[in-house]
């Protein structure tokens, strides 16, 4: 648009544009469109003034709040003297190479033929087995089942209306069809409120104590994301809240989980449930993500510090959400009692309390999520 202007004198456009690769290396994905906008913005401003250059870049090259600290640090490093070493950039989350252990293929002691022959009854075998011990074929089976379950999507009523058999009178359509009958409204047409997909939010605990189950729960999250696209949000909780929605959108479950593994910085670390939940509610939930949504928290409720903050945040969450579902794999053990402090604090604010330790239990969980129905052994909210 404004490319006819000569390159700004004094500073040198090349030096300014050299900033872009440095910024990309710092983790701000400033693509071609944004680079062009940057140049156009520089053209409209005074490039001799570093503040104006700063704002030109920040307004055109960033697109997320998370980009801003990276941009600030990169800008300071690039224009503040240390010139474009490419290494003096702010911390980018390091990919975690071995987050997902290589899956051992078929150590069941049977020849492959036998296993294939039994494939039809695999589901029955799977049902009683703990997900922590699944092989990769069985995992695919799990993903397929969960994907099928996720095909029934949770819905909610909206304010919007559409033509329907019952409901209030639709004057507009009645008048319009009336035109055909010589201006007489012979048939009364009606409209009713429509339904829309209900949002599902999954918070998966990836701390050390949940490590055997986190894998399967993330697979469930992937299945729900794929089966309920555009209306599912996934976060990992542990010591840091990480939004995994983008990673979970990848079609292939293996790739999605690998991406999630790379994105989760606190894999198998400690737990700070109350703080995490609070961060979720402050930054996402209260603003609307949790409103009217089905919120699933998968955790064993081990809380390091005091459980009181967790109780407060759960109360807050239960006031926002349509249903709160808590998945605790330990619940399946017959001797289990919700005695951990965190669990006790959370329990009064939970609508459905399910186990999710095996495929059968995950099926139950999926039913709760999609139908909003009560899980077996569900504890009604006090």
């Amino acid at each position: 648009m404004t490319s006819t202007a000569p390159p700004p004198a004094g500073t040198g456009l090349d030096a300014l544009l050299g900033f872009l690769p440095a910024l990309r290396a710092a983790g701000v994905p400033a693509g071609g469109d944004r680079a062009r906008a940057f140049v156009a913005a520089l053209d409209a401003l005074d490039v001799a003034d570093p503040r104006q250059v700063y704002w030109a870049g920040r307004l055109t090259l960033c697109s997320l709040p998370a980009d801003l600290p990276r941009y600030d640090a990169c800008f300071a490093a690039y224009f503040g003297g240390q010139h474009a070493t490419g290494t003096a950039v702010p911390p980018v989350p390091q990919p975690r190479p071995a987050a997902w252990p290589p899956e051992t293929s078929g150590d069941t002691g049977e020849p492959p033929d036998t296993r294939r022959a039994r494939a039809a009854s695999d589901t029955e075998v799977l049902r009683s087995r703990n997900l922590a011990a699944l092989t990769d074929e069985e995992r695919a089976e799990v993903a397929r089942l969960l994907g099928l379950l996720a095909a029934h999507r949770p819905r909610r009523r909206t304010r919007r209306t559409a033509p329907a058999r019952h409901g209030r009178l639709d004057w507009v359509r009645t008048a319009r069809t009336g035109l055909r009958d010589g201006g007489e409204p012979l048939r009364l047409l009606r409209r009713d409120r429509t339904t829309r997909p209900r949002r599902v939010v999954l918070l998966v605990d990836v701390s050390g104590s949940m490590a055997p189950y986190a894998d399967a729960l993330l697979r469930l999250a992937h299945a729900v994301t794929r089966g309920h696209p555009g209306h599912t949000e996934v976060f990992s909780i542990g010591t840091r809240l990480t939004r995994l929605t983008r990673e979970m959108r990848v079609r292939d479950p293996g790739a999605a989980l690998a991406a999630a593994g790379a994105a989760i910085p606190d894999w198998s670390g400690g737990t700070r449930l109350g703080g995490e939940l609070r961060e979720f509610l402050d930054h996402y939930g209260q603003r609307g993500m949790a409103r009217g949504a089905v919120v699933v928290i998968a955790s064993d409720g081990w809380e390091r510090g005091s459980a009181a903050p967790l109780g407060r945040q759960m109360a807050r969450l239960s006031r926002l959400a349509h249903r709160v579902v808590w998945v605790n794999p330990h619940k399946a053990q017959p001797e289990y009692r919700p005695l951990t402090g965190g669990m006790r604090a959370a329990l009064p604010h939970i609508d459905d309390f399910v186990s999710g330790h095996s495929l059968e239990a995950l099926e139950e969980l999926a039913t709760v999520v999609i139908g909003g129905g009560r899980g077996r052994g569900g504890t009604p909210r006090a």
Binding site: M1, T2, A5, G31, D33, R34, A37, A40, A41, D43, A44, L45, D46, P50, R51, Q52, Y54, W55, A56, R58, L59, T60, C62, S63, P65, L68, D72, F75, A76, G80, T158, R159, R160, W171, V172, A175, R176, G178, L179, G183, T194, R196, G230, T245, R246, R278, L281, D282, H283, Y284, Q286, R287, G288, M289, P309, R312, R316
Partner: protein, 325 residues
């Protein structure tokens, strides 16, 4: 496109001049806001604003409209919003009446009747069409509020609209903007807005104002408040927003809108400075949750002491973000 501003009859050679125009509308713009608005005008790009509730995103759009001298047109997004609610709709009851009236008058040329039916006067203009129909010379300011509440489909539709600022109505023809509107989108981040939409926009994250700016904003809005009261109020709200000083923290830290309300409530009670009794009675203007109310009441002595001890020494509140060093 670079002389959009000149063609719009505005003398705004630099961001500082725009800041002065906004200042005349009682909106105190910092560097970032002024530059963002300036570039939006100059480059003809929509402005995408994100920030906590109450930092003044909607106020900015209002002030901007007054500053450039155009009308403010607001489109509030919600789940299920569709093109008919954003663009235009035909006024069927009136069309029907028109037909009846024509019949009664004895007119029966079918083609003529039909042509009369799809007249501009039977078209109900919704916000996007209204924004295009602004005659100028000043551009209208189109505020698309809380875009994150709308659906993906609507976002895609909006993308198309923002690309060429035209609306085609099959019965009437294409409506093209005489003066392209200045578009301001806001989002509360309940959902990530599609990158394609953001790419067309200038992105600005609005932080809470720092201490000095907050004092200036409250004084501007409430000239009758005493200097001491304004500084005390700003100091307390800054501390309530600061995660380091907050302790357990609040569900909803007060925005600038709340601090202005609080100061106004205190002024109404005749306060010249912040004292415990009046502060406790007016807390409802500052925090809007029962838990927050209890929390602030519990910490009130501490907050007031902090405010008093810092009197004289300016601005303990570090700016929440923004300026380069």
């Amino acid at each position: 496109m670079s002389d959009v501003i000149e063609s719009r009859g505005l003398a705004v050679p630099a961001p500082a001049d725009l800041a002065a125009l906004l200042d005349a509308q009682d909106y105190l713009a910092d560097d970032g806001v002024a530059t963002a608005c300036f570039l939006a005008l100059r480059m003809g790009r929509p402005l995408f604003l994100e920030g906590d509730a109450g930092v003044g995103k909607t106020e900015l759009a209002k002030a901007l409209a007054a500053a450039v001298g155009g009308p403010l047109i607001r489109l509030q997004c919600y789940e299920g919003i569709d093109a008919a609610q954003a663009l235009y709709d035909w006024d069927y009851p009136r069309q029907l009446l028109h037909l009846r009236a024509a019949q009664a008058a004895g007119a029966d040329g079918v083609a003529e009747l039909e042509a009369g039916l799809y007249d501009r006067r039977f078209l109900l203009a919704r916000p996007l069409l209204r924004a295009l129909e602004t005659s100028g010379p000043a551009p209208s300011v189109l505020l698309i509020d809380e875009i994150d509440r709308a659906d993906d489909e609507f976002e895609a539709f909006l993308l198309e609209f923002l690309a060429d600022f035209t609306i085609s109505i099959p019965e009437l023809g294409t409506v093209r903007a005489a003066v392209p509107p200045l578009v301001v989108l806001t989002s509360n981040r309940t959902r990530e807005v599609h990158d394609a939409l953001k790419r067309r926009c200038l992105y600005h994250w609005m932080p809470h104002p720092d201490f000095h700016r907050e004092v200036a904003i409250i004084r501007r809005r409430l000239p009758e408040a005493t200097e001491r009261l304004v500084r005390d109020v700003a100091r307390v709200t800054q501390r309530l927003r600061d995660p380091a000083a907050a302790g357990p923290g609040l569900l909803k830290p007060p925005g600038v809108a709340e601090s202005i309300d609080w100061a106004a409530a205190l002024v109404a009670l005749g306060a010249r400075g912040l004292d415990r009794e009046r502060a406790a009675r007016t807390l409802g203007a500052l925090v809007k949750h029962r838990e927050d109310h209890d929390e602030v009441r519990r910490r009130l002595d501490d907050l007031l002491a902090g405010a008093a001890s810092a009197t004289g020494a300016d601005g303990n509140g570090a700016p929440a973000g923004g300026d380069p060093g």
